[in-house]
């Protein structure tokens, strides 16, 4: 069997094998790394190589406590680089894998589940409004999510519009298919990390290795602004930035271009922002990460109220921590080593979630102080005074924001058209596809800011509103509609000021009435409005207005339950205007019973009053 030639071949083969083994052995010894391989009793060989300080996110997620694999997956037991990295998640927190990373059992399982259902992940409201504006649905309620839209093999014209212009702004978007307004894609976290991981500090476009970002529950406002600096632009408004445009006629004394190049103007910031408060100081965990319930739109998820911190004018039932059912907050407090006695007073959000950083600041529970979650600083939360300004008859429907919001972003023209010959990124396909949606403005009618209009919400509340969509659509090339819309939207502008609008700024203001800019002349006998930017071939309607004066039907909005003031409501508001020249303060005695005061004027029982006689009876 074993002739000499065969043995020679075998020896030669063995020599080759031993040389190969020697090389393999050398690389094995070199690749072992020098870092630790055990974390909290677990094998975590990732650290053998990734043990540099810049590899450590620090804080509660420090590598010394967790290692790498709980977040990044892979094979922590492997000594081989390729196998260790197999199945690795480069974007921990991405919602499609969050159940195995942030949301794994024992970590943040309930939060990951809630976030996946939350408006920031599903964007149901955006999908619904977009379809309604395109005339594809009658009502602004829809069950579809942005993920449905992005996955649809045959999207409708409205959905195509969404996929090409707005589809990159939701928590489900991966880094390379994301459209963050303030950050370049590769510097972003995804899903949970979109908020909880601060942007990576860039070392230039060619930097091969970037340090690990800190992971923190304390989300800075800059993370919110990545998405919320668009559409309603509440992040910008809160910071005192009003986006303008080249076509805007509005003058700006203090231009402040945004990081992504959009022109903006520095104006009055929200009083809370000026006081150093962050978004998360007010907004509760149920709003930011969802409460597990599917909401048709983001506003339905908002739980914080002004009254939660500042109290109302009526005496509310005193609540204590013993009444609190929210286990999540209790767990967080326990994690932070904080204790709340069951008898301690607590203020709650609209659905019962405690504002845990708001605490009674004295033994008598008379005052409250709110501790900043980012800076740890305590601030006095002043309580709403029970005075005439806040208890005036006829103002019962007013929300706090209706009076205390100083301005709201405006855009009097938005021309949306489809160019079939163009090409544009499709966030559903994840690549450039044929067809391009273009949005531009009428010169002189670009973006700006103005006092909010007043909207009636669900018939029960008066709230601020702004021109959400004064637009024209030319989408016939995409088998879509052609036409124009004049829709306002109601939202809290996040431009709260301590000093509220004056009586004149509502009762004699064309903007407040939804008329837009122009000249409003009010007497008891006659009221006229001359628009500053009249809409061609339409009587007395301003380009930036919602409705005409005394309209036959109120103006519509992006939501079914929101409308402008109707003619009767406008008349009631304007009915005060003639008195304001002499009786400008809410504390004035004539407002105690305003109807009776007017009746006295008409009966000539107030000889010093110089306003006109009563207007003729209305049709």
């Amino acid at each position: 069997m074993t002739r000499t030639p065969a043995l020679l071949v075998a020896w030669l083969a063995l020599a080759m094998g031993l040389v190969a083994a020697l090389l393999h052995e050398r690389s094995r010894a070199r690749d072992l790394g020098g870092g630790p391989t055990q974390v909290a009793g677990r094998t975590e060989r990732c650290l053998a190589c990734h043990s540099a300080p810049e590899d450590d996110p620090g804080g509660a997620h420090t590598a010394a406590a967790l290692g790498c694999s709980p977040c990044h997956l892979g094979d922590p037991g492997s000594r081989d680089k390729a196998r260790a990295h197999a199945g690795m998640e480069p974007e921990p927190g991405a919602l499609d894998s969050a159940g195995r990373t942030c949301g794994r059992a024992g970590c943040h399982a309930s939060e990951a589940e809630r976030v996946a259902r939350s408006p920031m992940a599903t964007a149901r409201g955006i999908v619904a409004v977009n379809r309604r504006v395109f005339g594809e649905t009658r009502h602004a309620e829809a069950s579809n999510t942005i993920e449905d839209v992005l996955a649809d093999p045959k999207p409708s014209p409205a959905d195509t519009h969404l996929r090409k212009l707005c589809g990159g702004c939701h928590l489900g978007a991966r880094r390379d298919n994301r459209d963050d307004a303030l950050s370049h894609g590769r510097h972003l976290g995804t899903g949970c990390s979109a908020c909880h991981a601060e942007r990576r500090p860039s070392r230039g476009p060619d930097a091969a290795r970037l340090p690990h970002v800190p992971i923190d529950a304390r989300v800075p406002d800059s993370r919110c602004a990545g998405c919320h600096s668009r559409s309603a632009r509440i992040s910008l408004s809160y910071a005192g930035l009003a986006e303008t445009s080249a076509h805007s006629a509005q003058t700006c004394a203090d231009p402040a271009p945004l990081p992504d190049g959009r022109p903006a103007c520095r104006v009055q910031a929200d009083v809370h922002q000026r006081g150093g408060m962050a978004c998360i100081d007010c907004h509760l965990h149920t709003e930011l990460m969802g409460d597990g319930h599917v909401r048709a739109r983001a506003s339905q998820g908002v739980e914080i109220t002004c009254e939660a911190c500042h109290g109302g004018t009526s005496v509310a039932a005193r609540r204590t921590w013993g009444d609190v059912l929210d286990d999540v907050t209790r767990r967080w407090l326990a994690t932070r080593g904080e204790v709340r006695d069951d008898v301690e007073a607590v203020r709650l959000g609209a659905r019962g979630t405690p504002v845990w950083n708001l605490r009674p600041d004295g033994g008598d529970n008379a005052g409250w102080s709110l501790t900043g979650k980012l800076d740890g600083r305590a601030r006095v939360a002043r309580q709403t005074p029970v005075d005439r300004n806040h208890t005036l008859r006829g103002h019962e429907r007013l929300t706090c924001a209706a009076c205390h919001s100083a301005w709201i972003p405006t855009c009097a023209s938005c021309h949306t058209r489809f160019d079939p010959s163009g090409a544009q990124w499709d966030f559903g396909a994840g690549r450039v596809t044929p067809g391009r949606w273009i949005e531009d403005e009428t010169p002189g009618l670009g973006m700006g800011f103005a006092p909010p209009a007043l909207a009636v919400v669900a018939g029960t509340r008066i709230a601020p509103a702004g021109p959400g969509m004064i637009l024209s659509i030319e989408a016939r090339a995409a088998s879509g509609p052609s036409g124009s819309r004049r829709l306002f939207a109601s939202w809290d502008p996040h431009t709260t000021q301590k000093t509220a609008r004056t009586c004149v700024q509502c009762h004699a203001s064309p903007e407040a009435l939804g008329l837009g800019a122009g000249r409003l002349d009010v007497t008891r006998a006659r009221t006229t409005f001359t628009p500053a930017r009249p809409v061609p071939r339409v009587d007395a309607l301003d380009e930036g207005g919602w409705v005409a004066l005394f309209p036959r039907a109120p103006g519509t909005s992006t939501r079914d339950e929101v409308r402008s003031l109707d003619a009767e409501e406008q008349r009631r508001v304007l009915g005060v205007a003639p008195c304001l020249a002499c009786h400008a303060a809410a504390s004035d005695g004539i407002y105690v019973d305003f109807k009776r005061s007017l009746a006295r004027v008409d009966a000539r029982e107030a000889p010093r009053c110089r306003i006109d006689a009563a207007p003729p009876s209305r049709p």
Partner: protein, 283 residues
């Protein structure tokens, strides 16, 4: 009697077994059945030349199987089975089954995704044996999800001892001759150095789809895709029974039995190809 390499397959088998046993002795202190995959990682990446020892062990085991099968074919073709006593021939046929079982035990001892999949299949097959299924599973494979102590015990002890004893009886010698050992060591050493063995995927990161078992049992996997689990032990036992029975046949019945064994080998290859095609399609 054939000469040269063809006539030395039995001695090469014994040499491979000796190399396998020797390298196994080196690996035993490094292996922990309670942390099987961790052990493999340690052997493959943490111990100097551990990967080489593991490679020698595995390549020698496969050499034992391949040389053993070729030796059986060689013996049957040359009519050498008649030269062995009936009892020895039957025990030698069983030796082939023992080698398969020992190799399967070694595969399961890896503790990776494929190994745990194979363990589940092996337990399922044994469970399908009437009356003694459950005790057979406990006795051969153990019952813990990832506890491989029983498997390791049989691999290192029971099967190794039985293979050694039956080999000694079959070849009338306990140790291989020097030339076979040198040739086997050269080939096995060359393969261990040139083709380092990978460590399989951890169970939690394994890709979904069909998991491949050891290459020499993929034919069985292909068969079991559609056949009931009992076929997993009935068919191998039938093949071994036929192999043992050949010794008693002459003339056309012997030729028919040999043709059946050849067909079984072809079917084995066919089922292997089928499984590999399906497994590729599910990934």
């Amino acid at each position: 009697m054939p000469t040269g390499l063809r006539g030395s397959l039995g001695r090469l088998s014994l040499a491979c077994f000796a190399l396998c046993a020797g390298s196994g002795v080196a690996l035993v202190p490094l292996y922990d059945p309670a942390n099987a995959r961790e052990s493999l990682e340690w052997i493959a990446g943490g111990v100097p030349w551990g990967f080489f020892a593991r490679g020698v062990h595995a390549w020698a085991a496969w050499g034992l199987l391949v040389c053993g099968l070729l030796h059986v074919a060689d013996v049957l073709a040359a009519g050498g089975d008649a030269k062995l006593a009936q009892g020895v021939w039957w025990r030698s046929s069983a030796l082939l089954g023992l080698v398969f079982a020992a190799l399967l035990g070694g595969f399961v001892m890896r503790g990776d995704a494929g190994a745990l999949g194979a363990l589940r299949v092996a337990r399922g097959l044994c469970e399908s044996v009437p009356l003694v299924g459950a005790p057979l599973v406990a006795g051969l494979w153990g019952t813990g999800e990832t506890q491989l102590a029983v498997v390791a015990m049989h691999h290192v002890g029971t099967f190794t001892l039985l293979v050694a004893l039956l080999s000694a009886e079959h070849g009338a010698r306990l140790l291989p001759d020097d030339r076979a050992l040198v040739l086997g060591a050269c080939v096995v050493g060359a393969l261990a150095g040139l083709v380092p063995l990978p460590v399989g995927d951890a169970p939690e990161v394994a890709p979904s789809g069909l998991t491949e078992g050891p290459w020499y049992l993929i034919g069985l996997q292909g068969l079991l895709l559609d056949a009931p689990p009992a076929f997993g032990w009935i068919v191998p036992l039938a093949v071994l029974g036929l192999l043992g029975g050949v010794r008693h046949l002459k003339g056309p019945p012997r030729r028919a039995a040999l043709a059946t064994l050849a067909f079984a080998l072809l079917a084995w290859v066919g089922f292997s190809v089928r499984f590999l095609l399906l497994a590729g399609g599910t990934r």
